[in-house]
């Protein structure tokens, strides 16, 4: 009995079974981990969806396709969720004007009402990330934890306090100053443009709240040391010292060395 059991481990079928079990386990686990994509929290009415579709057809369809299936000019929007619409249109990045390595933030082109209608239409196409709940956007979390998460996950592109940073080929991580809590949350959720996705399994909603809390603290409490020189670090400090510090002192030496008339 014992021998038969051990022998059976060497049969080809056993190997297949083990691999199948392993795949099922890891793949299933992965599916569970990544399926934390929220389906729309709010139910939209058919009227909202059809109004949203009208706006979509008038403003977005030329690039994203008549049925949001995407085209050479713009990606498919099926499954991107209301959060994507709210972020991209709500920060003025969409509708895009001109092509480039990255679409810049600009003046918002639509009212909040219109943005929400377009979001309703996109959310109706397939389940996708929804607009975050208000309770995670109040900046009431743990700033210390948020700061740590920010330094580990965000600062390598956005700079230690979110003052912007370069990516390759003209792409960049924008300055976060003045960003709305909702948009910060949505950006982590959907990973717009060149940003990676930080889903709820990776950074939980409470963690996202902590990060928002940290950024809100920085915005409300300017540097205790005086003017911040853009928070750009030693380059800005060196430029300032050479131009204004040493510049002023050299001007004084010229004054001291000038012959009296």
């Amino acid at each position: 009995m014992k021998n038969r059991f051990f022998r059976s481990r060497r049969k080809p079928l056993a190997a297949t079974l083990v691999i199948a079990a392993g795949l099922l386990f890891s793949g299933g686990g992965y599916a569970v981990a990544t399926s934390v994509v929220e389906t729309s929290a709010t139910e939209y009415t058919a009227e909202q969806i059809s109004e949203g579709r009208k706006l979509f057809l008038a403003n977005c369809a030329s690039c994203h396709g008549l049925n949001s299936e995407g085209s050479a000019a713009g990606p498919s929007l099926i499954g991107v969720g209301a959060a994507s619409v709210d972020f991209q249109v709500g920060t003025g990045r969409m509708p895009g004007q001109g092509s480039g390595p990255q679409l810049p933030k600009k003046n918002v082109q639509f009212t909040d009402e219109q943005i929400s209608l377009m979001g309703a239409y996109i959310a109706s196409l397939a389940p996708g990330p929804a607009i975050p709940e208000q309770k995670y956007l109040e900046a009431t979390g743990d700033a210390t934890h948020g700061g740590e998460l920010f330094r580990i996950n965000c600062a390598m592109c956005h700079n230690a306090v979110g003052a912007a940073g370069a990516l390759t080929e003209g792409k960049y991580a924008p300055n976060l100053e003045g960003s709305e809590a909702k948009h910060i949350y949505e950006a982590m959720l959907i990973g717009p443009q060149n940003m990676p996705v930080f889903n709820d399994a990776n950074i939980t909603p409470q963690d996202k709240n902590d990060i928002i809390t940290y950024l809100a603290y920085l915005e409300e409490n300017p540097s205790a040391g005086g003017f911040e020189l853009g928070n750009l670090g030693p380059v800005a400090e060196g430029l300032f010292l050479w131009i204004f510090g040493l510049g002023l002192i050299v001007a004084i030496t010229v004054w001291l060395g000038a012959k009296s008339n």
Partner: protein
């Protein structure tokens, strides 16, 4: 005995004190010597002073910081005033730096004053060095003092770097990591040196205390010694001066130390102090609370060293990153070794330049009258090439910020900088040399024919001329008083051989002096004046021409 009593009665307490000191310490003799030292007046002679005063501010503010800073890497939980770090785990070094910033009275001001004056110290020293270079103040007898000054610049960088790492924040920790990487890149013994320095694997628990020892003890002591030697040599050599009436290589024209320069320099110290304090009170520098405690995993965007280390960071960024060669089980990372060796070679060239130039010109005379940069075109051109090389490396340390703020591609910025690093110095050399020669020609023209006044006069016979105004003596001195060198000729030595050294020297000498504009001679001037019928002006300096 009786005379002493009399003096004190006549002059009061001040005279009595002076007499007391003179009888015991010979102050009178010292003052007589030092007080009569003459210094010429020119703004560019005050740049070294700025560096000296910044160093004094560094000593004062640094001493204050040592009262509160603790160089230990033991981990603690922060419970201070800065909210977004409350409860975070960090080293004692970082916690005490935060306490200095937020809880010690005047701590923030002193920390910022220390950092701003450190930036100013190296900047003023660098500018002073450029002044010395471009005016030829390093020539005999000051070559050794150039080396001393060079050492001070290096020590300034060392002091800055060791201090930069002390707060143990994320930014400085990343800087240390880069240094660790560079050390580990040294073939064969890199890893050993790194473990020796860090007391094991990076970052370890030793490095902050070690850097602290270097930063507050060894490096400042060396800087003080070198400053003492530097100033002592200035006293021995006397200061240089720009050419002007009565100014020669045998004298120095200016005001005495006592009372003019003691008052002027003393006042200037307080001006520098005031500027540093005003900046420190209004502008944030190194906001360590933003960077967070050191942790080897994260690296923030915009991680740069202070400006004086920037050129080394730039060299690392510009070097090709895919040049790892493996020989006999050792990896030679040329992306690290090229910048390492390249920057050492660059510094070496800066250090030995005075000796190279002395060898090329073969000039053994003492020089106390400074050159106008245009009158030494090749030296000025070499300097411009060096400044361009350094400047490109320096700018390369901020490729990421240039890309973001000028909306360019980071990759393109890097490529352009790589090309400029090679081509820039060559272009700068050619443009500078040609500009100098053109300016010399212009000077020559002005000396011989005077300044154009723009007044057109019609002569009785109908000819129109523009009236040229002759120069006054002071201007004339400035324009004609410079040394004229000619290329050395290759001659066999006493054994009748022409050595490689002689040939090299002749080739370099040709490079230096092939294109040259000779200073105006007295004969030429007389000739020009008789032609112009303008009032006679004599050429001030006899032109001694070096024909070797």
């Amino acid at each position: 005995m009786s005379t002493t009593v009399e003096t004190s009665k006549q002059g009061g307490a001040l005279a009595a004190t002076a007499n007391y000191l003179d009888e015991r310490a010979g102050v009178g003799g010292i003052l007589k010597n030092f007080g009569r030292k003459v210094f010429p007046d020119h703004w560019s002679f005050m740049l070294g002073e700025v560096a000296l005063y910044s160093f004094v501010i560094l000593l004062i503010s640094g001493t204050f910081l040592t009262f509160f800073y603790q160089p230990a890497m033991t981990e603690v939980i922060y419970d201070g005033a800065y909210v977004p770090l409350k409860g975070a785990q960090m080293s004692i070094a970082y916690a005490s730096s935060l306490d200095i910033s937020f809880e010690i009275r005047g701590g923030m001001l002193m920390r910022q004053a220390h950092h701003w004056s450190a930036l100013l110290f190296v900047a003023a020293a660098g500018l002073h060095m450029l002044r010395v270079f471009f005016t030829g103040a390093f020539r005999k007898p000051r070559e050794i003092n150039w080396l001393v000054g060079f050492m001070l610049f290096i020590l300034g960088m060392a002091a800055g770097f060791t201090g930069y790492s002390l707060p143990d924040d994320l930014l400085s920790g990343n800087g240390l990591r880069i240094i660790d990487g560079m050390i580990k890149g040294i073939p064969v013994m890199g890893t050993t040196i790194s473990s020796f320095l860090f007391g094991g694997e990076f970052p370890g628990t030793e490095i902050v205390a070690r850097l602290y020892g270097l930063h507050i003890l060894l490096v400042p002591a060396l800087i003080l010694i070198f400053i003492a030697i530097h100033l002592f040599m200035v006293i021995i050599h006397k200061h240089t001066h720009y050419s002007g009436p009565g100014r020669t290589d045998e004298n120095v024209v200016g005001y005495p130390l006592m009372p003019v320069y003691v008052a002027k320099a003393g006042g200037f110290f307080f001006i520098v102090f005031g500027v540093v304090m005003a900046i420190s009170a209004t502008f944030t520098i190194n906001p360590i609370w933003n960077y967070g405690p050191y942790d080897p995993s994260p690296v923030s965007a915009g991680t740069q060293p202070d400006w004086y280390i920037g050129w080394l960071d730039g060299a690392l960024r510009l070097a090709p990153s895919n040049l790892d060669v493996s020989i006999l089980g050792y990896t030679y990372p040329f992306g690290v070794l090229i910048p390492l060796v390249g920057s050492l070679v660059f510094l070496g060239l800066v250090a030995v330049y005075p000796f190279v130039e002395a060898w090329v010109t073969g000039d053994k005379r003492e020089h106390h009258v400074l050159d106008r940069p245009r009158n030494a075109p090749v030296r000025t051109a070499i300097g411009a090439a060096g400044v361009t090389f350094y400047g490109v490396l320096w700018a390369a340390a901020s490729t990421d910020l240039i890309a973001v703020f000028f909306q360019m591609s980071l990759n393109h910025v890097l490529t352009v900088m790589q090309i400029t690093l090679i081509a820039g110095p060559v272009v700068a050399y050619i443009i500078t040399k040609r500009t100098c020669l053109a300016l010399q020609r212009k000077d020559r023209e002005i000396v011989l024919h005077g300044r154009e006044t723009g007044r057109i006069v019609r002569l009785p016979h109908g000819e129109y001329i523009e009236v040229h105004e002759p120069l006054d003596k002071f201007e004339m001195y400035k324009l004609v008083d410079f040394k004229d060198y000619r290329p050395t000729v290759v001659r066999p030595n006493k054994y009748g051989k022409i050595t490689v050294g002689t040939r090299m020297r002749a080739a370099l000498s040709r490079l230096y002096f092939e294109d040259r504009i000779a200073p105006v001679t007295q004969t030429e001037l007389n000739e020009a004046q008789s032609h112009d019928h303008s009032p006679a002006v004599s050429a001030p300096a006899a032109q001694d021409q070096l024909t070797k």
